[in-house]
Symmetry: C2
């Protein structure tokens, strides 16, 4: 799984080389210009034709997914470290959400496609997100069993909250403090030691 060419055996050597090289350049490029940077510019920087880039990565989302999957190991080892080191499920969950939020900050503007992919689901990015939502659920369930997390919260909601944290931090954000505030908000809410049960749905009023 994961090398683009069709159904059969391994890709041709030049194809593999190009693919890897494009990935390298794209990583650097997105780091500098955000996820909205020009794909053609990436092709040019990589010294390949536009056709080559688009054959390997039919659209921006697929390219992003490939880029992120190259970083999978990092996040997964962080997950393992958290599991190993944490003494209680609540702080494990908190650390994991922080890790997710950092992950989603890998490139400027990344949270947006991640949210879109989470919503639609079936794309390669969506699969990736789904996996991490599952992990989030695991941490969350543990915390719930421990009694330190609310019952009505779902992993998906916390995942989105982590994305949102990263989104707030995004781009030209003048105030780095706000992201921390939001993640603290996600943990503690703004209400003083809330009435716990808080009913089910609020939010929309009209």
């Amino acid at each position: 799984m994961s090398t683009s060419p069709g159904t059969k055996g391994r890709p041709r050597a030049d194809a593999q080389r190009n693919r890897d090289h494009i990935l390298d350049i794209a990583d650097r490029y997105f780091s500098e210009h955000g996820v909205s940077g020009s794909l053609d510019a990436i092709a040019k920087q990589a010294g390949v034709g536009a056709g080559t880039l688009y054959r390997h990565f039919p659209n921006r989302e697929v390219l992003l997914a490939a880029l992120l999957s190259a970083r999978d190991n990092e996040l997964e080892s962080r997950r393992d470290a958290i599991r190993a080191e944490s003494t209680n499920a609540a702080s494990a969950l908190e650390l994991w959400l922080g890790a997710l939020s950092d992950w989603a900050s890998a490139f400027d503007g990344l949270p947006e496609p991640l949210r879109a992919a989470t919503a639609t689901g079936s794309s390669p990015l969506g699969i990736t997100c789904q996996g991490y939502i599952t992990t989030t659920d695991e941490f969350l369930h543990a915390a719930q069993r421990e009694g330190s997390a609310r019952r009505e919260v779902r992993g998906k909601d916390l995942f989105l909250a982590a994305l949102a944290t990263s989104w707030v931090r995004g781009a030209a954000m003048a105030d780095d403090f706000s992201a921390a505030a939001l993640s603290s908000l996600s943990r503690n809410g703004w209400s003083t030691c809330a009435g716990a049960e808080a009913s089910g749905s609020n939010g929309r009023t009209a």
Copy 2:
């Protein structure tokens, strides 16, 4: 304030007519296509040349700001209603945040430019946001005085949280429930009846 042409007296009649008409069309168009829809298409639908559109609204952000300012009354009267009807500051704050979140959902994709404008500040959109942040601060301070909101939270953070709620609700979001979950998260956090003091900063780990 607010009619685009330069420094002097009122604009020419045709200019005013075009401006209003463009605003009408743009409102409909953004409602159907989201804030990323094509500006040229709006000009065409409005039956004016691209130049005319861009003279009145030099860029997308300015157009959005004009569109939103046409809706100012709505949000402001909602604010007044909340002030009048609420019996306690906590629920007033909650209602206000809901109103903000609805406001930011006027068009698909609106939260993004709002966030960007909040960050950079000086644009017309930024001014608008700043005003609502101030209002948020008022509601928040009242709640803090009442003892029902945490001290360390700032209006700006709650404003961004409201935008984030709307952002999560955004576009193709398969799951409308998540937005409600996030706003509840913003109020109550995920931790059971938190240890209140929660220290200052957390979030970033690496």
